[in-house]
């Protein structure tokens, strides 16, 4: 017992431990944030490499490079890795770094659990990736793993997939509980709810969504496991179940999940636009209400992914209108961003470029979403490349651009060094061009009828597919530049001031750059 007390005494003032164990045993939110961010970057590279296999195969019609079976494994793993290994951990990493600093807390509320949430992930993805080398290959049923493809017709590795989803879910739930508790309980006196930075708000809502839907995903994979190995009939009509039931449960998780991947982005972009417009954000409270209503609505729109499965007409109408309703709060947010920039003294540093691109390109994704929400139109578009274009517009120049913007914006605070602005801008323009060249043509081939998830296609889709593949390689290669810029910044560079950006507001800009290992040992004064 005395050891415990002694630990406590010399705890606060010394810096990080030395060597590898620092990272294995750490309870420090900044260390854990860093681990999450690097993990996510590694996953982006792996998932990105898989995307390039897909685009290489689709460069020309006909079977070129990979077997169809392997192609299916690539699209499945690409989706799973980007969503669960790339985007989600990146946002958790940002939450770890930023939430405690923004609310004046010393650390996350439950620091040891925080470490656990992170370290589950490498194991989970090791299991998922190792399925590539198993008999029958990796999961090949798409990231949405619809039954019966993922049950009756699944390769044996599906069992490993199921359990890896289970522990990923456990990691997400624990991470989300940590965020909620930190925000509810660790705010410095004076940081009232309606004074919280929007990134903190966005994460509070995201965490709530995570706690609500990750267990539902766990339920879905559990039913799959039972159907596959223990004779139940949840997703099997022959036994009285229904494969469509799988889709209901999956999308009850899946639609809130897509908002889990975009709400933190809303928070990030609000901060960046405010800073580089040198104005106060327009409509703070409407931003909060918009995020809350988006989160609540996201629970009642799931069947817009299932318009073609044969839902009763009343259900089609309900889900169509409910989906369209989401466009209202989304529109409020876009309006507020634009209004913040209106008459501001704008400058266009790299984070701002990414943020503006976010506003424009995310809106394009939102608009194609609205098209998909129209039931009779979706009968045409469903399972075509138009859907692929839609969700890549909201996820790549949406979620991922916001993550890159956040890295450029906060890396001076994390590392104490400024990044190279010229290289940052180059990275932005290459990514911007790459994204649009890749995904804009997919609207055209989708509308023309090219189905998604096939390794081959009819000749009339050839030109735009080639363009898309060229764009994908441009985008992919540009991310090596990003890696280079980040490493260069961490290693050295112009020293950052504490304030870093002229127009930046918030507690994190009041502490030194780089932020000290333990930020606030006593609560800061906020009024």
């Amino acid at each position: 017992m005395s050891a415990v007390i002694e630990n406590h005494h010399d705890d606060h003032h010394h810096g990080p431990a030395k060597g590898l164990t620092r990272w294995l045993y750490t309870t420090n939110h900044k260390d854990i944030g860093t681990l999450y961010l690097w993990f996510s970057f590694a996953m982006f590279l792996i998932g990105g490499a898989m995307a390039l296999v897909i685009r290489a195969e689709l460069f020309q019609p006909g079977m070129q490079i990979v077997e169809p079976e392997f192609y299916n494994q690539m699209i499945t793993l690409h989706g799973l890795i980007m969503i669960f290994g790339g985007v989600m951990p990146a946002f958790v990493g940002l939450a770890n770094w930023l939430v405690p600093m923004m609310i004046g807390a010393p650390d996350m509320a439950l620091p040891r659990m925080n470490n656990l949430s992170f370290w589950i992930l490498p194991f989970a993805f090791f299991i998922l990736l190792s399925s590539l080398f198993m008999e029958g290959g990796a999961p090949n049923f798409g990231w949405t793993f619809y039954a019966p493809l993922s049950t009756t017709y699944a390769p044996p590795s599906v069992t490993f997939f199921i359990f890896s989803v289970h522990i990923m879910g456990a990691s997400s739930i624990m991470g989300a509980i940590n965020v909620v508790v930190t925000i509810m309980n660790m705010r410095a006196p004076g940081v009232t709810l309606m004074k919280m930075p929007l990134f903190v708000w966005s994460w509070l809502i995201t965490a709530y969504l995570l706690i609500a839907v990750m267990p539902v995903l766990a339920g879905a994979v559990t039913m799959m496991l039972m159907d596959i190995h223990f004779g139940t009939s949840f997703f099997n009509a022959a036994g009285g179940g229904d494969p469509v039931l799988f889709q209901h449960i999956f999308w009850f998780f899946g639609h809130p999940e897509v908002y889990i991947m975009i709400l933190p982005a809303f928070g990030i972009v609000s901060h960046i636009i405010e800073t580089f417009s040198r104005k106060q954000l327009f409509g703070y409270s409407s931003m909060v209400w918009a995020m809350l209503s988006i989160a609540i609505l996201s629970f009642v729109v799931w069947a817009h992914h299932m318009f073609t499965v044969g839902l009763p007409l009343a259900a089609e109408l309900f889900f169509m209108w409910a989906t369209m309703l989401i466009a209202v709060p989304t529109g409020v947010k876009v309006f507020n961003w634009v209004a913040t920039m209106f008459k501001g003294s704008l400058t266009f540093e790299t984070p701002m470029l990414f943020a503006i691109a976010f506003v424009v390109l995310f809106t394009i994704g939102g608009l194609s979403g609205l098209m998909l929400a129209i039931v009779p139109a979706d009968f045409q578009y469903h399972d075509t490349y138009f859907v692929v274009a839609h969700f890549h517009y909201v996820l790549v120049p949406g979620a991922i651009f916001s993550i890159m913007a956040a890295v450029y914006y906060w890396i001076p605070k994390w590392s104490g060094n400024m990044y190279d602005e010229r290289l940052g801008k180059l990275h932005f323009w290459l990514s911007f061009i790459g994204v649009n060249v890749t995904f804009f043509p997919q609207h055209f081939i989708g509308l023309a009828g090219m189905p998604r998830r096939y390794p081959d296609y009819a000749l009339q889709f050839a030109d735009w597919n080639m363009v898309s593949s060229v764009g994908a390689f441009l985008f992919g290669v540009s991310q090596i530049l990003f890696l280079f810029i980040v490493v260069k910044t961490v290693m050295g560079g112009k020293k950052a001031t504490d304030q870093v950006w002229e127009g930046a507001r918030g507690l994190e800009w009041t502490v030194a750059s780089p932020a000290p290992y333990h930020t606030f040992t006593t609560p800061p004064k906020v009024d």
Binding site: T27, P111, W119, F160, S233, L245
Partner: protein, 304 residues
């Protein structure tokens, strides 16, 4: 709660060991399940290793937390964090059950009637002559496909009518579990009044009731498998019945185990004070949660 300093625990080995245990556990579970019909497989040992290291890690982790607490390191703020953390954890458990209840409602209101030809969607199914002769009912005792892979049940677990109410196990289970929620509450009152004897006695009774519940549930499953022919293979009724009651039973075991640990802490180590007993409170909330789930089960799985 003035400007006190925060307590951030020192580096810790527990989380990484826990992650490693989970890794062993799920690798072991997956390969065991994939090798169920392969008697030569050694995968189960990975699973056992996972379980052992998981429980060992949990034991030492919780021991450390309790030590820190007894050493007075926990601020009031940390205690509040535990309260919120537990509350949100229970909410996540609610959502896990919601998935299974959702599946139950869906098959009862939509899938089974449609398969028998009712409704807008059913018309299509009967028009092509799929599943002819399949009648919609609940509990549904047959399967649309009469294939050999289904073991049809002769009898369901539903309400048997007043005449047989007393020999109906779910009723007894309900009585047992509801009373255990009351006894755990009495234990709490005892603790709050500083009456350690009352606390131990009622907590002991609660743990006893938990054991009785699990025993009755086991008897019910035995009856289902051995006498009614109701199994996981009996189609959608058996699937929903066993998964809902099974996960509930599993949660009863976890909750009962937590309460038993609290009892042991009180009896053997004299832990908990009248104003400071979060460990026990967390376990008792969990117990009430398990109880509420049972009430839902009783209504929607057994009675209605």
């Amino acid at each position: 709660m003035s400007a006190q300093t925060y307590y951030v625990p020192e580096q810790s080995r527990f989380p990484i060991f826990m992650a490693l245990s989970l890794f062993l556990l799920v690798m072991g579970a997956s390969s065991t399940i994939n090798n169920l019909d392969n008697p030569d497989s050694n995968s189960a040992y990975i699973l056992y290793a996972g379980f052992i290291s998981l429980f060992t890690t949990l034991f030492f982790w919780f021991r450390q937390v309790i030590k820190e607490h007894l050493a007075g390191l926990d601020s009031n703020q940390l205690k509040t964090s535990y309260v919120y953390g537990m509350a949100w954890f229970i909410f996540s458990e609610v959502m896990f059950f919601a998935a299974f209840f959702g599946a139950l409602f869906y098959v009862r209101s939509f899938a089974v009637p449609w398969l028998s030809g009712e409704g807008e969607n059913g018309v299509g199914i009967s028009a092509i002559g799929l599943w002819e002769g399949f009648e919609s009912s609940w509990p549904v005792m047959t399967t649309p496909d009469k294939g050999a892979e289904y073991v049809l049940a002769e009898k369901s677990m539903a309400w048997p009518g007043w005449g047989h109410a007393l020999e109906w196990l779910p009723l007894w289970n309900t009585i047992v579990l509801l009373s255990s929620s009351v006894t755990v509450h009495f234990a709490h009152i005892g603790l709050k009044n500083g009456d350690r004897k009352k606390f131990n006695r009622f907590l002991g009774i609660t743990v006893g009731l938990a054991l009785i519940f699990v025993g009755l549930q086991a008897a019910e499953y035995y009856e289902a498998y051995a006498h009614y022919g109701l199994t996981l293979n009996s189609g959608i009724y058996g699937s929903t019945f066993f998964m809902l009651t099974g996960f509930h039973g599993f949660h009863v075991m976890m909750g009962g185990f937590m309460l038993a640990v609290m009892l042991a802490r009180s009896v053997f180590a004299g832990h908990f004070e009248d104003h400071d007993h979060f460990g026990f409170e967390a376990a008792s909330w969990y117990w009430h949660f398990v109880d509420v789930v049972w009430v839902m089960l009783f209504l929607f799985v057994y009675i209605l």
